[in-house]
Symmetry: C2
Subunit: 130 residues, 2 copies
């Protein structure tokens, strides 16, 4: 359980998070304005994300893919905050092709930072400013 402490350490800049989540900076910032994440800021006002933030972003991404909108996702987290227990599993549906990619990617974090993982995957995206 102390592991949770480490995962909350905010050290990742938005660029790294983009790679880890394959979300655009615009999306990440937007989710923040929507109150879904609240990354820390350094002295230079740069966002500093933790692995927990990255996890949440991946969750958000998954919810969006499943058709939820910001407001609904917000409610999910509000409820979780109250009930103080991770039960968003109740929202799961039979896996689609998209989901698989999601899960595999999520595994990276499970391995590179958590404890509930199983098999890895490499998005290997390049994010070149196309």
């Amino acid at each position: 359980m102390e592991k949770q402490l480490q995962r909350s350490r905010a050290v990742l800049p938005i660029g790294t998070v983009m790679k880890l989540t394959t979300l655009s900076a615009r999306q990440i910032r937007y989710y923040e304005t929507q109150g879904l994440i609240k990354p820390a800021r350094n002295e230079g006002n740069r966002r500093q994300f933790s692995l927990i933030d990255v996890d949440r972003l991946l969750d958000i991404k998954g919810y969006l893919d499943e058709g939820f909108n910001m407001t609904e996702i917000k409610r999910v987290y509000e409820k979780q905050a109250k009930h103080q227990q991770k039960e968003h599993k109740a929202l799961e549906k039979p896996v689609t092709d998209e989901d698989v990619r999601q899960v595999l990617q999520h595994e990276f974090l499970s391995i590179a930072g958590l404890n509930h993982g199983s098999e890895p995957s490499f998005p290997s995206d390049d994010l070149s400013k196309k």
Copy 2:
């Protein structure tokens, strides 16, 4: 063992690595010129480190604290490369105060990125350009 794959994913910019290792950018770059690490580069020529790189940097830091110089540390890794097995444990000495800080810090990575960890620690450094 597949977990090793994830840890080799180069996504961390030097700033993050500085925080994770409490090493200066100058030191990190110097160790690179000495051939101790070979971080990947992105399209913009920026260094991209993996958790494995961070681990090695922490090891290097530990060796330096123990009195080794670049050349000797280099040999350590060359030998490891040949014998293809992590046995630099043979170089350990009875723990000193400095060592403790090292180990505790190393634990962060063990937790936020590996699997052989135990208890955490927060350097909580700020890196403001003093």
